[in-house]
């Protein structure tokens, strides 16, 4: 039996580079976690927005003004990234775009499009 190579003792985090698909994947997790944590916030917005004209105006105000709008921009990115990378994973599940070059291209497309859409959202509210 051959001896297992010993575990690396030197890990330079700056020299470890993620393949683009790994970035898409971990960002899917992070965005999903952010969306989960913000569920009470979304539910609260739904609640007040349906209580009448004043509540509706307040909900719009919360999303677009004040210190919370940075948060709403992050949540917009989370939603766009989670949706787009989710569609990509479903397509890969049914066998579309599994080849490495296609998978890399779609990963780039998802990462960049989510950022562009989030920037477009930010541009509207800032």
């Amino acid at each position: 039996m051959t001896r297992q190579p010993s575990a690396p003792v030197y890990l330079n985090l700056l020299r470890i580079s993620f393949p683009v698909g790994a970035v898409t994947s971990i960002a899917h997790r992070v965005s999903g976690l952010l969306l989960f944590v913000s569920l009470p916030f979304f539910t609260y917005l739904l609640d007040i927005s349906l209580q009448g004209p004043e509540g509706y105006a307040e909900a719009i105000d919360i999303l677009g003004n004040g210190w919370l709008r940075s948060g709403s921009a992050v949540l917009a990115w989370s939603l766009f990234h989670h949706l787009l990378s989710g569609i990509r994973f479903l397509l890969i599940d049914i066998g579309a775009g599994v080849m490495l070059t296609q998978a890399r291209a779609s990963a780039w497309l998802v990462n960049v499009t989510a950022l562009v859409l989030a920037l477009a959202y930010s541009w509207r509210i800032f």
């Binding site: 997790r29 999903g32 976690l33 989960f36 569920l39 009470p40 979304f42 539910t43 739904l46 609640d47 927005s49 349906l50 009448g52 004209p53 509540g55 509706y56 105006a57 939603l79 949706l83 989710g86 569609i87 479903l90 599940d93």
Partner: protein, 112 residues
């Protein structure tokens, strides 16, 4: 049901709820891009349409299923102590259940 069948069932639930939520979200984004809501009356009228109200209730349930399976997978990957796992999973279940009940109640009261 065996553990394997549980895993397969959850894998499928995750994808079915994802497909439903994906369709709902894309519809929302396209609809509100083309016809932005201007005030409370329009917003209330839109969500009170029977098909939209039913689809919205369905998407709330889909979020509960999707959020539960997704968060449970994340917890199983990063939390290895059994007691801590139980505590975190309980908190996740409470948050999901609470928000789901709250959102459905809002939807029913506003549209009924």
């Amino acid at each position: 049901m065996s553990r394997l069948a549980h895993g397969l069932r959850d894998w499928l639930l995750q994808r079915v709820s994802a497909a439903f939520l994906g369709c709902y979200l894309v519809y929302l984004m396209v609809h509100f891009s083309l016809q932005p809501v201007q005030d409370y009356e329009q917003w209330h009228a839109w969500i009170s349409q029977p098909l939209i109200a039913i689809a919205s209730a369905g998407s709330i349930l889909a979020v509960l299923v999707h959020g539960w399976v997704g968060m449970r997978d994340v917890v199983f990957d990063y939390v290895h102590t059994v007691s801590l796992r139980l505590i975190v999973l309980t908190l996740i279940g409470l948050l999901l259940g609470g928000c789901g009940f709250w959102a459905l109640r809002v939807l029913v009261l506003a549209t009924a």
